[in-house]
Amino acid sequence: MAHAYTPGLKVLHETKIDKERRLPLKGTVSVEKGKVVTPDDIVAKTDLPGNVQMVNVANQLNIDAEDVNDAMIAKEGTAVKKGEMIAETKGLFGLFKTNVTAPVDGTIEVISDTTGQVVIREAPIPVEIDAYMSGSIKEVIPEEGVVIESEGVFIQGIFGIGGESRGELEVIVDSREDEITEELLTTELTGKIIVGGSFISLKAYKKAIQLNIAGIVVGGFNYFDLEDILGYTLGVAITGSEDLITSLIVTEGYGKIRMGSQTFDLLKEHHGKFASINGATQIRAGVIRPEIVIPLTKDQLKGDHKDADASEGIQAGSLVRVIRAPYFGRMGKVVNLPSELKKMESETMVRVAVIEIDGENVEIPRANLEMVETD
C-alpha cells in the first residue's frame, strides 16, 4: 500500500488563525479592512437567484406550443402574484375560456414556443455570511468575502457533524477518561459548548439536542449510532451541512477513547471562555477537519506564537498517537525511525517507527501514526 503520512491534528495554545468567509455567488462585502468584528457580525451578503417553477401552459390550455405566446396575458419580465391569471384561451365566441394561474409569486422569465413551457422565477433568496469568530478583517476579497484574522487557541478534531456553532466553553467532566452521561446534562448548559472525556452515548447526545446545547467536544462516539442522529448511514466522511442543533466534534475516533491529554488540558484551561466550533469534516483530497477556535484578547495572550501552518514531520522524540489497531489510541514517543522496510504481522512491508509506549518499545507502521502537534 502506498506510503502516506497523516499530518497531525493541531492542538495549539496560541496561534494566528485566518478564516476565509466567502459567498457562494458574488455579492457585497459589508465590512472594510481592519474592522474589528464579533462572531455574529454580518460581513458579506448576496441574493441567490430564486427558485424556478415551470408551468406547461400549452398542455394546460390544450393548445399548440407555438400559440402559447398569443395566449399569455403576462409577458416575459412581468411580475406575477400567486393565483393571478397568466394565460387564457380565446374561447368560442368569448365563451368557454380556460386559463392558467401563477402557482407562486415571481417573474415570468421565459415563454417557450417550442415546448409550451413558461418559467416563473421566485424572488431572490438573500444569503448573509457572519464573522463566525471574533477578530479583525485582514483582507477584503472584492464582491466575494473577507479573511478574518484572530489569535488564540486552535484545536482540530478527527471527525464532526453539524456545522458552525458557538458558545461559552464548559468542561463538564473531571478527567479525560470520563464519559458524558445523561445525568451530567442540565438546562444550565443550554447554548454552551460542552467538553467531555472519552465518550458520549447516543442517549446522552439526544438529551443534549433536547437541551439546545450548542456543541459537544468529546473523545469518541459509536459509528453505528450516527445513523440514529443523521437519519441515514454515513458512507463517506463529508459532513457539515446537517441541520443539527448540537454540533459534535470527536477528537479521537469511533469507540470509547479517552481524549488526548494535550487537548483536554487545553480546553480545561479555557473553561468559561467563548469558543467558535465547526463540525464540518471532509476526508478526501483537500481534507477539512472539525475545529475549535477560542480567540483570546491581547491581555490573555502570552506571546509564544506558533504558526498554524508549520507542520513538521515525525522525528525521534516526537509525541505521536497510534491511529490503528493493535495499539489504537495509545500515545508514545518516537525512539527511532529505521529506514528499511519491516514486515508486519499482516506480512505488509512498511516503513515503521519504533515507539515507546508505557515503557515498552514497539514497531508501528509510520502510516498508522499521527503527530500530536502542540506548541
Binding site: 502506498a2 497523516t6 415551470m54 415546448t115 413551457q117 453505528f224 463517506v236 489497531a325
Partner: protein, 609 residues
C-alpha cells in the same frame, strides 16, 4: 522519428507517478519509475511541482539527465532528456459531469456511457421521465455544480420538444461550474440534430455550448465517439485550465492530457481488440471502484463512486450490510467493535493493516466492494434498450428483452485487477482469491494484477495522435503492458453448475512444461491450487455430471492454459456459489479454502474450538 524514450506521468489526487520507458535491444521496457505527492492543493497549488519531483526521482534512478531546471528536456539530445513526455490526470476530483437524455433508459443511458467512457464521474442523469418535477431537477443541477454537462435526446428527425424542454430546465437552473467563478459552464449537445437551433437559442448565451453529432442518431445505434472526443477536448480547454498549474503542464506534454480512467479504458479496449479476447479490468481505489469491460467487442466502463477502501469504506459496509462482509471473515468478531474499526479507517484513510486480523477484515470488505461494483457494471453494460428485434416464432416464447447484460463470465478470458488492496496485497494468493470470490469467473479465466498501476500512462501512450509517433507509441504501450505492467497470477478453472458435497465436478489432466503429467479430481466445495509458472500447460478438462467448463454441460475441453505466480486454481465451489450460513461451517469452509492456496498461513483457527 524513432521513439527511444518516453516519459509518462499520472497525476492522481494524492500521488503523482512517473515512469520512464526505453527501447533497449529492440524492445520497449519499463526502465524506472518514481513518485511524489501531488501538489494541486494548498500550499503548493501547482501540479507541475509534484510532476518535477516524481521526474527527479526517475532521473536519479535512471542515472541520466531528464530535467533542465524546471523543464523536462524534449526532444532527447544524446544522453539527455526524452523523446516525448505525456500525462494523465485525476487530481482535484477528476472530471465530474452531469448528463441528460430524454428517456432515462435510452438516450440518458447512452449519454452516461459516453461520459463514463471518456473517464468522467457521472454525478446525475437527468431525464424527462426520471420522475422528478422540473423544480426538483433545477435544484439538483444547482447543487451539483458539475465540470461539464452532456445533453442528448431524441433520434435525428424525431420530436424536438422533449430535448428542448430539458435545455429550458438547464437554462432556468443557470448552472455554475465547479471550479472558477468567472467562466461559463461547458455544455455539449449531442441530441436530435433538428433541435440544434432551438438548443442554441436556449443555452447559447448562458453556457459555453458545443454541438456534436447525435449520440443516438437512430434507435438501433449508438454513436459515442464524437461525444467522447468532445468531452476530452473540453476537459483540456476548460476544466484543466482552471486547475492549478495545468496550463504549464499542458504546454509540456506532447499529446493532450487524458483523464486517468479514460486512458485506462482506452488501453483495455486496445488489448481486447489486439488479442481478440474478452477482458474485465478493475481499479479499486480509496474512494471509487472503476470497472472496465470488453465483451462482444463492446467497451463499457462504470464508476462506483462510493465504493472504495478508505474514504468510502463505510459506504461499502452500508450497501453490502455487515453480514455480507462477515461471511468472508474466518473468525468471530464483535459486530459493534467491527463497525467502529471500519469507521476509524474512513476517518484515517491512510492507515495500513498491521495485524493479520485487520488485513483479513480489509480484504473481506474489498470482496464486497468489488462484488457490488460488478453488479452495477453488469446492469449497465447491456445491449441497447428500446431496439425492436425481429422475432421468429421460437423467440416469441422466450421473454428475453433488449437491454440484456453483455457480461458473460463464461466468455471472459482475462481479468486484470489494480488498486492498493489488489496490487499490494502481501501475498499474490490473496489477490487471486479476492478476484475469484468477488467476480466468480466461470470456465477458464486468466487472472492478473497491474503491479504499479501503469495502465493510465500506457493508455495515453496508445492514444497519441501525432502520425509520426502513433505507431511506435502504440507498440511500446502493448509491449510494456505485456512484459512489465501485468503480473500474471495464473488461471482459474471454475466449472459451472451445482452438485452434491463430495461429488466430482471436474477431472483434469495437465501436461506441465517439464513434461510431467498430473491428474486431478476436483470435488464439489473444494479449491485446489497447482503451482505452475506463467508457461503453457496442455489441459484436458472433463466436467463432472451436469457441470460445464466452457463447452457446454458434460462436454470435454482440450486446451492450453497458463500458470503464473499463484498457479492454476481449480475452484470447485460451483456457480452460483453459496457460502454456508451456519457460522461454524462457514469458518471451517473459509479456512479450508484459505489453506488450499496458502492465503493466510499464519492465521490461527480463531473462533474455532
Amino acid at each position: 522519428m524513432e521513439l527511444r524514450s518516453i516519459l509518462a506521468t499520472d497525476c492522481g489526487s494524492t500521488t503523482t507517478k512517473a515512469i520512464l520507458i526505453e527501447k533497449i535491444d529492440g524492445e520497449y521496457r519499463l526502465s524506472v519509475r518514481g513518485e511524489a505527492p501531488t501538489t494541486v492543493e494548498a500550499p503548493f497549488e501547482d501540479v507541475t511541482k509534484g510532476v518535477l519531483n516524481a521526474v527527479m526521482e526517475v532521473e536519479e534512478l535512471a542515472g541520466r539527465k531528464l530535467l533542465d531546471g524546471d523543464n523536462i528536456i524534449t526532444p532527447r539530445n544524446d544522453e539527455e532528456g526524452v523523446d516525448i513526455y505525456i500525462s494523465t490526470s485525476s487530481a482535484g476530483g477528476g472530471l465530474q459531469m452531469m448528463v441528460a437524455g430524454v428517456v432515462k433508459g435510452m438516450t440518458g443511458e447512452s449519454a452516461e456511457r459516453a461520459a463514463l467512457g471518456a473517464g468522467s464521474i457521472v454525478m446525475d442523469v437527468l431525464a424527462s421521465n426520471d420522475g422528478r418535477k422540473p423544480h426538483e431537477k433545477i435544484t439538483r443541477i444547482r447543487q451539483l455544480r458539475p465540470d461539464m454537462i452532456l445533453l442528448s435526446g431524441g433520434i435525428d428527425g424525431g420530436t424536438t420538444k422533449h430535448v428542448v424542454e430539458l435545455a429550458e430546465i438547464l437554462a432556468a437552473a443557470n448552472p455554475k461550474p465547479r471550479l472558477g467563478q468567472n467562466y461559463k459552464l461547458p455544455v455539449i449537445y449531442a441530441g436530435n440534430k433538428n433541435a440544434a437551433d432551438k438548443i442554441e437559442e436556449t443555452l447559447g448565451e448562458i453556457t459555453d455550448l458545443d454541438l456534436t453529432e447525435n449520440i443516438r442518431p437512430v434507435l438501433e445505434m449508438e454513436n459515442l465517439k464524437p461525444s467522447r472526443d468532445k468531452i476530452h477536448d473540453l476537459f483540456m480547454e476548460h476544466v484543466m485550465q482552471q486547475a492549478p498549474g495545468y496550463k504549464k503542464l499542458m504546454s509540456w506534454t506532447d499529446a493532450p492530457i487524458m483523464p486517468t480512467p479514460g486512458a485506462v479504458g482506452a488501453l483495455i479496449e486496445m488489448v481486447a481488440e489486439k488479442e481478440n479476447i474478452s477482458v474485465v479490468g478493475v481499479d479499486i481505489g480509496g474512494a471509487t471502484t472503476d470497472i472496465f469491460s470488453v465483451f462482444q467487442k463492446q467497451f463499457n466502463r462504470t464508476v462506483s463512486a462510493n465504493l472504495g477502501m478508505s474514504y468510502s469504506i463505510c459506504n461499502v459496509l452500508a450497501e453490502s450490510g455487515l453480514k455480507n462482509v462477515l461471511r468472508w471473515v474466518p473468525f468471530d468478531i464483535d459486530e459493534k467493535e467491527l463497525t467502529n474499526r471500519i469507521g476509524n479507517k474512513m476517518i484515517r484513510p491512510t492507515t495500513v493493516p498491521q495485524s493479520l486480523e485487520e488485513l483479513v477484515i480489509e480484504q473481506a470488505i474489498a470482496r464486497e466492494a468489488l462484488r457490488l461494483s460488478f453488479i452495477q457494471h453488469k446492469s449497465f453494460a447491456v445491449n441497447l434498450k428500446g431496439v425492436q428485434k425481429e422475432r421468429t416464432i421460437s423467440d416469441a416464447f422466450e421473454q428475453t428483452d433488449s437491454g440484456e447484460s453483455l457480461v458473460d463470465m463464461m466468455e471472459l478470458d482475462l481479468m486484470v485487477g489494480s488498486g492498493g488492496v489488489l496490487s499490494h496485497a502481501p501475498r499474490r494468493e490473496q489477490s487471486a482469491r479476492m478476484l475469484i470470490d468477488s467476480f466468480l469467473p466461470e470456465g477458464i479465466t486468466q487472472l492478473a494484477v497491474d503491479s504499479i498501476f501503469m495502465m493510465p500512462q500506457l493508455g495515453v501512450m496508445a492514444n497519441i495522435e501525432k502520425e509520426e509517433l502513433a505507431e511506435d507509441a502504440r507498440n511500446a504501450a502493448i509491449e510494456v503492458f505485456e512484459k512489465d505492467c501485468l503480473i500474471r497470477l495464473g488461471t482459474c478453472l471454475a466449472p459451472v453448475g451445482n452438485a452434491k458435497p463430495g461429488a466430482t465436478v471436474l477431472m483434469a489432466e495437465l501436461k506441465l512444461p517439464n513434461g510431467d503429467i498430473q491428474k486431478h479430481e476436483i470435488k464439489y466445495g473444494d479449491i485446489i491450487r497447482i503451482e505452475v509458472p506463467y508457461e503453457p500447460v496442455k489441459a484436458t478438462l472433463t466436467p463432472g455430471k451436469g457441470m460445464d467448463i466452457g463447452a457446454g454441460k458434460n462436454e470435454l475441453i482440450e486446451t492450453t492454459i497458463y500458470g503464473g505466480v499463484v498457479g492454476i486454481i481449480f475452484d470447485g465451489r460451483g456457480r452460483p456459489m453459496e457460502i454456508p450460513s451456519d457460522p461454524k461451517q462457514r469458518i471451517s469452509d473459509l479456512s479450508k479454502w484459505s489453506d488450499a492456496v496458502d492465503e493466510y498461513p499464519d492465521l490461527e483457527g480463531q473462533g474455532l474450538e
